[in-house]
Subunit: 421 residues, 2 copies
């Protein structure tokens, strides 16, 4: 089963916006056994949309379209594709009622703007796929030209629709059409604290044993992901080959490996602390990261059973006033020092009554570097059940990279400390 | 002058790789006065490449192709495009000598691999654009079908070739063809606190007056960007039309407009406070955002002259212990309430000796919602020079969206308060 993708949006042709939707859809379709053979992008122009969607349907019989489903006048995708299916737009009363209900819920003080009413016009015969995160209807059109799936262009609306509505329907089609589904499946092993070439050195002799699975190194800045891919195999075989490949590599990765897929290091840390049992609270003291570590930890649903809070001690006085870091220590060693990092961790653990803590103090740049402590120098500290560790690192890149690296390394220091115990 | 882009690579169709090349080329061409009307991606398949390049040439007479120029057997772009121009491949002795020289320079111990020899085969009549960063030749083919520009797919090789070789040649063509160079220029107005349809309601009567500038609504989740584009005009005229369009729209946007281009709301807030003069420090008290606001503020270089720090009071006791929120207030009104949000802002301002403060307390979900305070309910508070404001909002979406919205809305509340004064 083959498909083409069509992304719609003049902003994509101006190069301002990276087309992440096309990549997400391509990846989801490959995993469902559908082979994407072409991606096309056109502007918000009904003729171009109809021509490109029509050509894609002629070549493959299946086109997934994103973008141009909003309420404004430049949103013309629905109209253009409906024409190919000779499906006139008709007001869908149920959908209109649902839209009005949602507007009332969020803005009871204001009526729904008239432009949103047009979003309830649905091509005759189309199936509406429920979009719980936005007002644009996702649509499944099926008819003589083939199948056209229309998805909103806003990524956080598009992705759940793709996973929950489109992929299951496509898998069912593929199974019906091909008898057995052949899929390309990937598995990602996440590492941190080791470079791409360091990993390559550790794994090079194992690579031959992976066949038919292929291995790609994907540096992510704050770690390197290893992507294992089993290409075009029956599903069970693809899964077992990936499992075998993981079993081969993971022992060689040691403590650098922290999880699979989209495992997040913050979630891994929370889970490790949760396993220590009741009352192992975590607090953070952040200087140059300014809240990044807290933000990463609290991005994890259910963080509150472990994470207690923290102090962002951006001004140096705050390190003393709020975290009991002796002023003499700051003057003697400097704010970016082992002594201060350890004292910050101790101070925040004490203040929050936390069994676990991390602390970061460093020079994120662009200003503030000195010959002894150049931009990128960071001291990290972690403590857990009275045991403490501190480590100095020097991270490459600009302010953004230094801060991201520092937050990741601080979480990793605590993870490794938890794994030792 | 119009053009199409063709990016070649099976990895792009599997969705593992974001097509940054297409965005970079689109942006460079727009700036050179060439209007990109379509982007297409196909796999490493000579038939598909020839078909797509041929169709692009037929529609516009100019196609820029990247990828598939490497030394391996799946690199077939050059062969496929050369066929369209009836240009047989011929060994280019000069290019071969150059390649051999470079291999000797970097790896004097090894001969050039035989597979690289094929890279010196050049379609008859093609101009070789010198690629100093890699071995793949960039090519300019011109003939009866039009112009095809072939660029390597490795981004750090492609970008300098684009800027140094392709753009100057295209600008010259555009000038020759159109008399003067005509460019497409864009300007972005950033708004927050108003929906896409709300904006459209406010601007709909002004849209006609924008001509020849076009307006696109780009919802970014935490705000809506308005992209104004002047298409295919002499450079000075494009700039003045964009300035005029901005002057027309900005008054209608009122307080929702906070900056141009990639203006960041956190940076805007810091700048507003900086303008109030020495000593206007800012502190933040974050519950459900867990550090996001601090992270956004400290992402801005030089934040330290205004931002002092903050408290992440994730556990409720911390609101009382660290921010002096009376326990009775929490029990009487609940942790997610106007009284607690205001008390948090007051508490953190007092602790840090800050003239300005923001505070957030809310239900980010997925758990923790109640009928009176469903998931997405957030109380925001801001204070500045003794004046305080609090506002309740209910944000749609999951945990991630609620938190991002809450951080943005808190910063925005303080910005509006600063603009009032």
């Amino acid at each position: 089963m083959e498909a083409e993708l069509l992304t719609v949006g003049t902003e994509l042709l101006l190069g301002f916006t990276l087309d992440t939707n096309a990549a997400d859809i391509a990846s989801a379709l490959s995993g469902a056994g559908v082979r994407v053979v072409r991606k096309t992008t056109v502007g918000d122009d009904p003729e171009a949309i109809a021509e490109a969607a029509g050509a894609a349907l002629e070549r493959t019989g299946l086109v997934v379209v994103t973008g141009g489903l909003g309420p404004t006048s430049d949103d013309v995708t629905k109209q253009a594709v409906a024409r190919l299916f000779d499906a006139p737009l008709e007001l869908n009363e149920d959908y209109l009622a649902e839209l009005e209900r949602r507007f009332r819920e969020y803005r009871p003080d204001r009526p729904m703007p008239p432009s949103n009413r047009g979003q309830a016009e649905i091509p005759r015969g189309a199936v509406v796929l429920p979009n719980r995160r936005g007002t644009a209807p996702a649509l499944w059109l099926e008819g003589e030209p083939g199948i056209a799936v229309l998805l909103p262009g806003v990524p956080h609306e598009m992705r759940p629709l793709l996973e929950e509505e489109v992929v299951p329907r496509l898998r069912e089609r593929v199974a019906r059409q091909d008898g057995a589904v052949r899929v390309s499946r990937s598995r990602t092993l996440r590492t941190t604290g080791i470079t791409e070439s360091g990993l390559q050195g550790a794994l090079t002799e194992l690579e031959a044993g992976l066949d038919p699975v292929t291995l790609a190194y994907l540096p992510q800045g704050i770690g390197v992901d290893l992507r294992l891919t089993a290409w075009s195999l029956p599903e069970a075989e693809a899964e077992s080959e990936l499992a075998r490949a993981g079993d081969l590599l993971i022992p060689a990765l040691g403590a650098h490996y922290y999880g699979d897929g989209d495992a997040d290091l913050a979630a891994v840390v929370l889970e490790r602390l949760r396993l220590r049992g009741r009352g192992c609270g975590l607090a953070v003291a952040e200087s140059c990261t300014g809240g990044l570590i807290g933000a990463r930890l609290t991005a994890v649903p259910g963080a509150s059973d472990v994470f207690l809070g923290g102090v962002v001690c951006y001004a140096d006085e705050s390190k003393t006033r709020d975290l009991d870091v002796p002023e003499a220590l700051r003057h003697q060693h400097g704010a970016v020092s082992e002594a201060v990092a350890l004292a910050m961790a101790r101070g925040v653990a004490g203040r929050f009554g936390a069994d676990a803590a991390v602390a970061v103090t460093g020079v994120a740049g662009p200003a503030g570097g000195t010959p002894e402590r150049p931009v990128g120098t960071v001291w990290l500290a972690a403590r857990l059940g009275g045991v403490e560790r501190a480590v100095q690192r020097r991270f490459p890149g600009g302010r953004r990279e230094v801060r991201r690296h520092a937050a990741q390394a601080a979480l990793d220091l605590l993870r490794r400390l938890a794994d030792e115990g």
